[in-house]
Symmetry: D2
Subunit: 366 residues, 4 copies
């Protein structure tokens, strides 16, 4: 694979590499790690790839790799959001498969363009919604799909972080910089993590959000994008829900929680303790499912270790890559998000940014 | 004290008695436990009070008790909501203090009437918002008030139960019956437990909700009141928030959770594990405060046992009665909700019932 | 009831009173709260009993109360351990029932004397092993007794506290004073809390300890009794086990944990989160039982509130008093520890104090 | 690296490979995966190495690899225990470094032989005590070493599993087969997991066990080795302790828990939730340290992801390999267990097998 982005200072670049290579079905061999040639080269040294394959731009990488008999099979796009579209278009046009970070693009109109391109492309385009790679998330999806919960009535999903509680973008923190810059990110909290929660809810509940009422806020003075979101949800079967996301939730690391309430049972999953899934029945019985014990085949396939040997974020991410490698080999398990899923996420982000709740004043007069 | 309501089959009547008598400052000596004289008498036997003081109506109780030199000092109102107003009016008119279940009344207009009466009454009127009696809730309030968190930015409060996930009101379950009957309850989930969450949020955050956007739903077919609520909140200082409440959340017992995020730190409290309070700082440090260890004076005063000896719901409730007994003795710690707090809750319930989120359709077209 | 002990500064006296009176079947009406008449009187005022019934000694109380038509039915012994024997003997001789704090006495020979007396007494003698009053402990006992776990193979029980991690007995802390004074306490950690763990293990596992290997230590310099114990256990059916107890376990409040492993399933209970019980099966399934949901009748009878409304230490203690009140009324549920149980505990304490593990030196020489 | 063992059906072989290659500093290029040439070849295909480098024996591998300019730098020994000695000797004799599974050997006398060899070998010999690779375990070690807890007073360590609760070795389960066969394993539970607990205790507490009193049992009828152990510990500074290990603890997956109590503070770590470490102070304050937040340099170096992105067993194991790669490059952080640590573990296993607690009968006679 060839990596676009992931230069010095990037968090997600190294993660993509570790995850992709974990099962030894994929190898990072080339990259356009930075728009600055020197930094791209420096990153290539860090990744220990052939220096000649650390390119100054993705267009150079695509061009050069096509000339090689051992050129890359696909590209991974790990850039700021505004580059997702051009990089993906170029790669797809060159006949390369694409694994892209979410959100799909910086804007909804870009997403429409890309979805159209992906629909006609010869090779697959997929998005790395990492959390859908966790074994117990896949088990949750199965439990719902097989009717264990009965019809879904309510979904509560939350993704709260605290790392942007202070205006660190003004202090030179690179990760914070582009993520709070509208021209690069497109949106703030709703696009960076809200869309993860949105995807997780739909992925597991097996239902589509049809209406919502969003409240996006910017709580850190001077910030140019939203950093806190609360959204009321309504699903296609009438189920209700709430989506809470925040990057100013002081003290939270990566609190992604999911609950789905059905007519007969409910489930709860927490990303920071990802190896258990609670199922609760009408009669008050609570059952804890553990990774590595008797689960459905999708969850088992996503687990590498015996029960009690914790797996985490990298292993979940590696599951996406394993799915992707098999997809390229012609075997599609249907769990990876494609362009239509990406487009849904962008439509949600876009509409949430313009929506504003119909606020009722709370007036009290005796 | 004299108890109005709390007849056979009542849950909250026995709880009021246990809580009120726990510290031996209050004794249940009279009651109008049911509108059915025989059932009221039966309940009196169960409570082991003087049979002559188990009355057929609260008016009889008030009249008869005033004739006794050892008559009741105050009444507790533990009836369905529609009786809160007349019972409170009669007691206050008779010069008796009142401790009433929440919500204040069945309707906002009743609440206005009662607030006006309470304002001019000789004796105190208070509401039993039980959860404000927990030591760690009081500690949370203090931590916020003393600035430990910095200015409040976001409040997330949830109160989810699953006991009404099925239409048990149609199966003769008495508790479910009146709580889902608009004429007796006034509202459904929002009035029964949503208002608890609302009060808890304001009580601890020390801020007032000024605007909200509510989504009330009835998910059990045939039910006459709401049984699920999701509400976006906005506070007087600009803080955001979400309030989630449900009675159809299968598998939940009494999941009342509170989180308050400030600029510098955040706190989290969970009712089902009430003896701890988590404080999380900007730098990632998490501190767990335990009941019985070094806390503020209000929390210590609300604790009866050494650390590690769990206290629960009854002890929290008993704290309200201890506060009330001291209030009657002239000592007011300001922690009990008065009529103005009750009115706020009713205004919230009332407005939430008519509000409807400004829904945005999620339309995706490439 | 009449209370012996429980004077000013006592923790357990107030707890006995709150617990005994919770269900209104018992009332504290008399007491010999201190060996100092003035302090006994002062305590009586605090308890709000008739001042004439706050006696200067238990012998006076027993004598005077027998002269009253409304004299006490039973006495509660909440003194330091060395007074358990004489107080119990006097009460039983006077035809009064006895509820005594554990351990039974200060020494094994005293326990033998008391067991003989109890065997011939007209009224019941019982011990307040508080933790056996928790609903989920009773449920654990039932699950084992009904064979849910299969034959018991291993029991791990721990009771760790940290309050004696410093030599606070030398700083005038009264509770620490008598508990670390051999003449009053008889033993240290093993007698104060080790015996609770011992009783809990036998109570729930339904098996008897037949052999053990004890290691008692004094880790705080200058302390006159043991403050840390680790014990290997062997049960009558060949099951193995370990009992860990400590009062110098810094940071622990009241960590009483129990695990029982059977051939087919295991269970785990934790006193500081007393309202849940985990059951784990051979196939990896974990089930969480919650107080107030579908449990056995003993657990239900021991629960006052609906699921999700936490009950704690006082309610557990109150269950013992409810059992005791019913025992006095002729109804014995067999759950209260009698003199033979008390004697077992004393035999364990006594033998542990003289035992010393057969230590193997760990010598490494290449 | 070249892998000895890890053939088809092996759990630990694949884990070694994933862990070793995670940071791309090490690559599996050769192996003697099975004593059966066909199976070794089959495993080589599974690992996707050059088929010519899947050898029929480790002697062949060592011989052939030495002839290659790109031959392996070190071998990993992941065989049953009885092969640890000869494989390590052959590798060290051939000038190859060795990373070996624990325990060091099958018997203490073998360990002495190997320790002598390692002492004189040109290249390093190290053991993969996996749990010492967890970031929070390293942080625990640092906290103790830097005096945060004060002098250590008590250590409680437990490693309980349930996978051998039934006699699955008689049902053809390969992992169970050799681990319960004395000729291959040397010991049972004490050698398989007890020694992990022993090492973890010494590694973090920074103290040496000097005496112990062990109780080893075989609870599954017909099993040839111990499957349950309880051990009283005494450390070189007088600290007390207990070590509990079991493979018949039904329902436990991989419950490795550690607690260290000092004079001023205590810490607790749990392997199944490895990314947090609790520190508890004398005054009751509990602080939770999270991976990825402000920790010591060793813990930070052992973490790959931002806080809240869980890392697990593979990442911990990979840390050992990273340490080893740096050791081979001349940089020794001192955290990897060497032959003298391995010998300590074997001395413990050996002595525990012959020791037997000095049992006291619990006799009760009135």
């Amino acid at each position: 694979m060839g990596l676009i982005g992931g230069g010095p200072g990037s968090f997600i670049g190294a993660v993509h590499r570790l995850a992709a290579e974990m099962d030894r079905e994929i190898e990072l061999v080339a990259g356009a790690f930075s728009t600055d040639p020197a930094r791209s080269h420096e990153a290539g040294v860090g990744y220990r790839i052939d220096p000649a394959r650390a390119y100054a731009s993705w267009t150079e990488m695509i061009t050069q790799e096509r000339l090689r008999s051992d050129g890359v099979d696909f590209v991974v796009i790990a850039t700021p959001n505004h580059l997702h579209l051009p990089a993906a278009i170029d790669a797809l046009d060159a006949g390369l498969a694409v694994m892209s970070d979410k959100p799909m693009t910086a804007t909804l109109s870009e997403a429409r363009t890309l979805a159209a391109k992906a629909a006609s492309a010869a090779r697959p385009y997929r998005l790395s919604y990492t959390y859908s790679g966790y074994p117990l998330v896949r088990e949750a999806r199965r439990q719902v799909a097989e009717g264990r919960l009965g019809p879904v009535r309510k979904v509560v999903v939350e993704y709260s972080q605290g790392w942007l509680a202070r205006p660190i973008e003004a202090e030179g923190v690179k990760q914070a910089g582009w993520r709070t810059e509208p021209a690069q990110a497109g949106a703030g909290c709703i696009g960076d993590i809200g869309v993860h929660a949105f995807h997780l809810a739909e992925f597991t509940a097996g239902r589509r959000v049809t209406r919502f009422c969003a409240d996006l806020n910017t709580l850190v003075p001077g910030r140019k994008v939203d950093d806190d979101c609360n959204v009321l949800l309504r699903f296609d079967n009438g189920a209700t829900g709430a989506l809470i996301a925040s990057q100013i939730a002081v003290g939270e690391r990566n609190r992604l929680h999911l609950r789905i309430y059905g007519e007969r049972a409910a489930l709860e999953w927490r990303q920071e303790q990802p190896n258990t899934l609670a199922i609760r029945d009408l009669d008050g019985t609570e059952t804890i499912l553990h990774a590595g014990t008797a689960l459905g085949s999708e969850a088992i396939a996503a687990t590498r270790l015996p029960a009690g040997h914790p797996e985490g974020f990298l292993e979940a991410f590696a599951n996406l890559y394993r799915d992707f490698a098999r997809l390229l080999a012609g075997e599609d398990n249907g769990l990876l998000a494609d362009a239509s899923e990406g487009l849904r996420g962008m439509a949600f982000i876009d509409a949430a940014q313009v929506a504003d709740g119909a606020w009722t004043d709370l007036e009290i007069s005796a």
